[in-house]
């Protein structure tokens, strides 16, 4: 039997239906915690802060500014705020808390005492984190976009539905999903590796910021390297700002979409190993 045939047989023998039910059970429990926890209020603020600013801008400057300018402003808000800060720190808050929060609240053992493969549990929690972060930041981006063009009335409506607007919105939302998957996997793995993942997270932020000055092969291990290329509106970057916007050696669109997914898959495989070794020792934590 060839290796491929062996793999196919092994895969077909796995209890996929049971795993899906278990992932759904973890997801159901975690979504309630993720959305309704009081400690997550700052993540809501991160996701919707630009909406407030754009709304104020729409009210105060309703008779000034052009659509072209505002499109660039929105691109700046997305690339500089959402991508670099909002989604990054939001995912940090959501994904590091998935296991670390259970450890702090001394409730992780209830998951470990159920007949669930640790890998399945991790995937369930990761899915919960992705749904939460995508919902919050997707809504934030969507509302920011809507508020930005709403003030232009019919022209704005035409731009969105008959011009490039809808394509840009889809791209922003797509990049948001990829960012949540990419950053989420990294922060989930870090939370399993470190008791306090804040310092490693700052290192990740540094890595994501300064990889553009590194060789192109190294840049491919950065999530923003791919996401920058998928942003629909380019921002004219000069000086230090170019660090955040310019891609020196871009890859194709498909590769840019697959890049963060492959990186996330690789990190999740590492996280599988970490979660298998994880012990319940609340006193030590």
């Amino acid at each position: 039997m060839t290796r491929l045939a062996q793999l196919r047989t092994t895969l077909s023998e796995q209890p996929w239906e049971l795993w899906m039910r278990q992932i759904a059970a973890v997801l159901r429990m975690d979504l309630r915690k993720n959305f309704l926890s009081r400690r997550g209020i700052w993540i809501y603020l991160l996701a919707f802060a630009p909406v407030v600013i754009i709304t104020l801008h729409a009210i105060i400057d309703r008779h000034s500014g052009s659509m072209r300018e505002d499109t660039e402003v929105l691109a700046g808000i997305f690339q500089f705020f959402y991508l670099r800060l909002g989604i990054f720190f939001g995912c940090l808050g959501i994904f590091t808390w998935l296991f670390r929060g259970e450890i702090i609240e001394k409730s992780l053992h209830y998951y470990f005492l159920a007949p669930v493969k640790r890998e399945v549990l991790l995937l369930g929690k990761f899915a919960g984190g992705v749904v939460t972060s995508v919902t919050l930041f997707g809504l934030g981006v969507f509302t920011s976009f809507a508020m930005m063009y709403l003030r232009f009335g019919d022209a704005g409506q035409y731009y969105v539905f008959n011009g490039p607007g809808m394509g840009q919105l889809s791209a922003y939302l797509g990049v948001t999903v990829l960012a949540c998957i990419g950053y989420g996997s990294v922060f989930l793995a870090l939370s399993l590796l470190f008791k306090n993942p804040i310092i490693p997270a700052i290192l990740v932020l540094g890595w994501e910021t300064f990889t553009p000055v590194l060789p192109s092969l190294v840049q491919r291990f950065s999530i923003t390297y791919y996401l920058k290329q998928l942003c629909p509106v380019s921002i004219p970057g000069e000086g230090l700002l170019a660090l955040f916007t310019v891609v020196s050696q871009p890859v194709g669109t498909v590769a840019a979409i697959l890049g963060p997914i492959v990186l996330a898959a690789f990190v999740l495989v590492l996280a599988f190993k970490l979660v298998r070794r994880l012990e319940i020792s609340y006193v030590a934590d």
């Binding site: 059970a25 609240e105 001394k106 070794r277 609340y282």
Partner: protein, 314 residues
């Protein structure tokens, strides 16, 4: 054989440089097994090793032939009521058990049915829809017990399950554990209430400072404790005569008349020889026996002999 036993082979667990348990070898058969030892003796570590919450530094653990590294198989057959008195935020008694059953992969209907069944078994049906945060310690203990038994496990590991229970609930829980043991389940139970463990345990494991000091049926363990002569209380028609006869024997170190004058407490280094002698005396001196009972053939005495002098608190 190993498919019906809990086996620990040369198991050691170190937390950094701190010893949890050291070179533990056990083969636990079905029935109620009492785990006895002072605080910090390694009881909880041993239970956590059996259930895979921690991994051994050395050695192997197998529960009914399943490695604890395979929770997906292990917890179909094992229920663990851990000592951690904490719950996921905002859960009710019912949702706590229901959610665990959903994690097993059961559908809504089956999960509801099993959750209600478990709640009824521990007498928690009435407060089941209230939040766990408002429960008393005893209620929280019972809801954790319900969660451990809800999926009908064949191995039940209970870490201090009687803590915080009122006498009524304690008696009911003991009855439940004994019933489960009689059904052929493995019930591993740690408790510091020795006389209660004594009543329900088929065998005991005595632990001290991370080591297994003794294991087996309590009578067999007691027999092995040679340095403390066995105490046997005999109530008979002529205790004075009996006392004088047995005191002449080498293995008898003490024969003390009871205050009421109707019994003799004998301390002997060889219980078998003493029982043989007693049979002969009954025939020869026409003694009428009322009771013959070991006076220190229980968990408490064995604990005191083996561990008590080193560790006063348990």
């Amino acid at each position: 054989m190993s498919d019906n036993r809990i086996i620990l082979e040369n198991v050691s667990k170190f937390y950094g440089e701190v010893l949890g348990v050291n070179r533990v070898n056990l083969s636990i058969p079905p029935g109620v097994t009492g785990l006895v030892g002072p605080n910090g003796s390694g009881k909880t570590t041993l239970m956590n090793l059996m259930t895979g919450l921690i991994h051994p530094t050395e050695g192997h653990v197998s529960v009914l032939g399943i490695s604890p590294t395979r929770p997906e198989e292990l917890f179909r057959r094992v229920g663990y009521c851990a000592q951690f008195d904490s719950f996921p935020k905002g859960v009710t008694g019912f949702s706590f058990i229901y959610n665990t059953l959903r994690l097993h992969g059961l559908d809504d209907r089956e999960s509801v049915r099993l959750a209600h069944e478990a709640l009824e078994r521990v007498g928690m049906t009435e407060p089941a829809l209230r939040k766990v945060a408002g429960y008393s310690k005893g209620m929280r203990q019972r809801i954790r017990l319900a969660q451990a038994i809800a999926h009908h496990p064949t191995v039940l590991v209970l870490d201090e399950p009687l803590n915080g229970l009122d006498p009524m609930a304690r008696a009911e829980s003991l009855e439940l554990f004994q019933a489960l043991g009689k059904e052929g389940l493995h019930v591993i139970i740690s408790s510091h209430i020795l006389h209660e463990l004594d009543k329900m345990s088929d065998q005991v494991i005595l632990m001290s400072s991370g080591y297994v000091v003794a294991e087996g049926q309590i009578h067999a363990v007691r027999t092995e404790v040679k340095e403390h002569p066995m105490q046997i209380l005999i109530r008979c028609s002529d205790p004075n005569l009996l006392a004088s006869r047995v005191f002449a024997q080498d293995h008898v170190v003490e024969a003390k008349l009871n205050d009421d004058g109707k019994g003799v407490l004998v301390r002997t280094r060889d219980a078998d020889a003493f029982y043989l002698l007693l049979n002969q005396l009954v025939v020869k001196d026409k003694l009428s026996l009322e009771t013959v009972a070991p006076a220190d053939d229980d968990v408490n005495s064995v604990y005191q002999y083996l561990i008590g002098s080193e560790n006063k608190t348990i």
